[in-house]
């Protein structure tokens, strides 16, 4: 692209995104704001709040497994007064159901996708806002409505939802879990799905249409790639979950029989397994919906803080895209135990294990990015490295579950719980914190406290490894998941000490998060004012003030190079620093230098 063409292209894209004056009224500034940065913060607050709720529920589960039948401290005398502070079987089911649903749909999704998708996509591609700002605001408020339904579910007659996060019928029908709590949760999942689709439409359209001139697909930061692929999966597969929730709602409210079979169905009846198909057609892409943004963020952070370009950028992009496609065709591995034809099971096993090839490409790229880099162990980098560790570890345990033969032994054990907590929960959790520490200066204009961040990291990564490692161990020993009191069974009695130690690690993990809460709020008031580019990086968001102005860019940048052009020897000699802005114009006189900077150019 010549300079003249770039200028014209900029003129055209600027005309498409005129600068609006920042809103003046409180309502338009904080409530119904169409600014993607404000919406990102709204999602962040909403997600962190529910992360705390989900975490508290997790502590109650851990308490039950450590000391079954003993009154819960703190929460017992306050929240659980009616049962004398003790967690009974029905309440226990509600606790783990709500924990799972809240963490997946109302905590990780809003933080990783809602907050960081919103914050990063327009900033990192050089746009002034999302393609549909109004739809973006609507998406958040629809999401807030779904959270309200979740809160409502806690106060349902007969308690909250109790059919497990997977909400399988017939347990999830009126026969298994009557009461409004379950109905409200199914409705909440439907509504949050609508919000996800709205967000997804916005993310995909924005990434395709609003990239700044010169921001080719192969120059986008990997964070944007992760969010882009996630949005595609969201748009395609959340509707399938929507259909499942819709049919279940009809069964619960209208009395139809989509999922009711057997004695309850007089005329023909439906099929409970149908729900599992619909759920997992969505459910397997969903685990990648939760991890793809994390992969993208981590791939970027590893390159940034190793001060060198990401290893085989195109390979990472290809691998992430391959996983996106493969994720759509492996859902059967969740259903090996449903009486599936063994031939079909073999097919799903093969497809599932094929995913490990692109995953390996991704993982080796991460390691090769760090290799021989000038690693700076900043707090976001620590969390990124922690994520690489737990994700790698959790990924290996997936091989046992993806293959039908070992899965039949491990099915419905704590091993499954440990596996998906390592990959989907721990990895997403650490990536979320990496993202929060990394973009905090840009979001709030202040720096966070490094010491507190480091302490938070060590408690988190050690705690996570112990808690979920403990789950893997008891699961490998055969302990079933979702048991109210596993030690009622003689064969699990020897596992009680291990469970109890795991719980202690869990309590420590939870307590360690208080450091984060303290750091998060304290830095907002007392943190040092952040410079525009505290991490010394070249991606576009660091070229504007922290926090960025309402319209992000006074002039839309003309992008010259890829996102990780760090430690380039020629540029280093020229500029005297190891980073260069993606849109920075560097006149290069020396012959041969053009080749160095042409990396990533079309």
């Amino acid at each position: 692209m010549t300079a003249q063409e770039a200028a014209l292209s900029r003129q055209a894209i600027e005309a498409l995104q005129p600068i609006h004056p920042p809103p003046a009224s409180f309502f338009r500034k904080y409530i119904w704001s169409t600014d993607h940065k404000v919406i990102a913060k709204q999602y962040l607050w909403a997600g962190l709040l529910f992360l705390l709720v989900g975490g508290t529920l997790a502590m109650m589960i851990r308490w039950q497994w450590a000391f079954p039948g003993r009154p819960v401290p703190i929460l017992g005398p306050t929240v659980l007064k009616s049962s004398g502070g003790v967690i009974g079987p029905a309440l226990y089911m509600q606790i783990f159901t709500m924990h799972g649903l809240i963490m997946i749909f109302f905590a990780i999704t809003p933080i990783l996708i809602g907050a960081f998708g919103n914050f990063t996509i327009p900033l990192l591609i050089g746009a002034r806002d999302m393609a549909f700002p109004w739809l973006n605001a609507l998406s958040f408020w629809v999401f807030a409505l779904s959270q309200l339904l979740v809160i409502g579910a806690f106060f349902g007659d007969l308690g909250a939802a109790g059919a497990g996060w997977t909400t399988y019928p017939p347990l999830a029908t009126n026969i298994g879990t009557p009461g409004t709590g379950q109905t409200l949760m199914v409705a909440a999942v439907f509504v949050t799905g609508v919000a996800s689709i709205m967000g997804g439409i916005n993310y995909v359209t924005t990434t395709i249409r609003l990239r700044a001139p010169g921001m080719t697909y192969m120059r986008m930061p990997l964070t944007v790639w992760g969010q882009f692929l996630t949005a595609i999966l969201n748009v395609l597969f959340v509707p399938v979950l929507g259909s499942a929730a819709l049919l279940l709602l009809m069964d619960r409210l209208m009395g139809t029989q989509f999922f009711i079979a057997g004695a309850a169905a007089v005329k023909g009846g439906g099929d409970p397994i149908l729900f599992q198909h619909l759920f997992w057609i969505f459910g397997h892409p969903e685990v990648y919906i939760l991890i793809l943004p994390a992969w993208g963020i981590i791939a970027d952070l590893l390159a940034f803080f190793s001060r060198k370009p990401a290893n085989w950028y195109r390979g990472t992009v290809l691998a992430m895209s391959a996983v996106t496609i493969l994720s759509a065709v492996v859902y059967g591995h969740h259903m090996f135990q449903t009486g599936m034809n063994p031939l079909l099971g073999q097919g799903f096993t093969t497809l599932t294990l094929i995913i490990s090839i692109p995953a390996e490409v991704l993982f080796l790229n991460w390691l090769r990015t760090i290799y021989k880099g000038s690693v700076r162990l900043t707090v976001p980098m620590l969390f990124a490295l922690g994520m690489v560790f737990v994700f790698g570890f959790g990924g290996l345990t997936g091989l046992y579950l993806g293959a039908a033969a070992p899965d039949i032994y491990l099915h419905d054990t704590m091993f499954v719980v440990g596996h998906f907590h390592f990959t989907m929960a721990a990895a997403s959790f650490l990536a979320s914190f990496a993202a929060i520490y990394f973009w905090y200066p840009k979001m709030f204009g202040r720096l966070t406290n490094t010491r507190l961040g480091q302490a938070h990291f060590w408690i988190s990564v050690v705690g996570i490894t112990l808690v979920f490692g403990g789950q893997l161990l008891v699961g490998y020993a055969g302990q079933n998941r979702r048991l109210w009191n596993p030690f009622e069974y003689d064969l699990f009695k020897p596992l009680q000490p291990l469970n109890r130690w795991t719980s202690y690690a869990g309590f420590a993990l939870f307590a360690g998060q208080l450091l984060f809460i303290w750091n998060f709020f304290r830095s907002m008031v007392k943190g040092e004012k952040a410079p525009a580019n505290p991490w010394q990086l070249g991606t576009l968001e660091w070229s504007v003030a922290s926090p960025p102005p309402h319209h992000n860019y006074d002039a839309i940048p003309i992008v010259q190079r890829g996102p990780h052009e760090l430690s380039d020897p020629v540029l280093k000699a020229k500029l005297g620093r190891d980073w260069v802005g993606q849109a920075e114009e560097v006149p290069l006189g020396a012959p041969g230098a053009a080749q160095v900077t042409a990396r990533g150019a079309p």
Binding site: L8, V238, L246, M250, Q257, F258
Partner: protein
């Protein structure tokens, strides 16, 4: 801005580019919603294949005439709306208004026809609880009818600008997007008619 001598970057008016962005958003939305209906049809297929015979023993056979009439109504609606869009592109505003109003009337007639269909089925003794056939008929067609109602609301919001003349040859992207939506709803109904009532 005018076309350059080099001619590398084709000249596109800003409004057209904005319209294209909105169009892309609509395409992605309809693709997403197509997955929703695909999942519902998948559910129907699974339920039907699980039965020894269809309709399941003990449930009545579904009527064909009334849904066939409804299909014709929705097809005419598609023609009227497409006509309105073509007229808008040519700047023939009276024809556009006629197409819009006809589309509205035919769309409303479709909803009326569906209500008639459900009442008749209900009177003949097909309750919601009557197994998978009743679930599919009421659930899927009911969910589809909700989309028709949303489409009707959309057309109603187009009426004031159409009458005021602000929906014209230069600016008619809203009409274009709603017509796309209506065609989508029409195609989904055609699939429902063929797969649920005829097959």
């Amino acid at each position: 801005m005018s076309p350059t001598a080099s001619g590398v970057i084709p000249y596109r008016p800003t409004q057209a580019r904005g319209d294209d962005t909105a169009w892309l958003g609509m395409v992605i939305f309809l693709g997403s919603w197509a997955m929703m209906f695909a999942a519902l049809f998948f559910a129907y297929g699974v339920l039907r294949l699980r039965q020894p015979s269809w309709p399941p023993p003990g449930t009545l056979a579904l009527p064909v005439l009334l849904p066939a009439l409804n299909t014709i109504v929705l097809a005419l609606n598609a023609v009227a709306l497409q006509g309105a869009l073509l007229a808008a592109r040519r700047g023939e505003l009276p024809w556009m208004r006629l197409g819009l109003v006809l589309g509205l009337i035919l769309g409303a007639a479709f909803v009326g026809g569906q209500l008639l269909l459900w009442t008749r089925l209900f009177r003949e003794g097909l309750a919601f609880e009557d197994g998978s056939l009743a679930a599919v008929v009421y659930g899927l067609t009911g969910f589809h009818a909700l989309h028709v109602v949303v489409g009707l609301v959309g057309l109603l919001t187009l009426l004031p600008p159409a009458l005021a003349g602000t929906l014209n040859a230069a600016r008619h992207n809203r009409l274009r997007l709603w017509v796309m939506y209506w065609h989508f709803v029409g195609v989904v109904w055609l699939a429902m008619f063929l797969l649920i009532f005829l097959l």
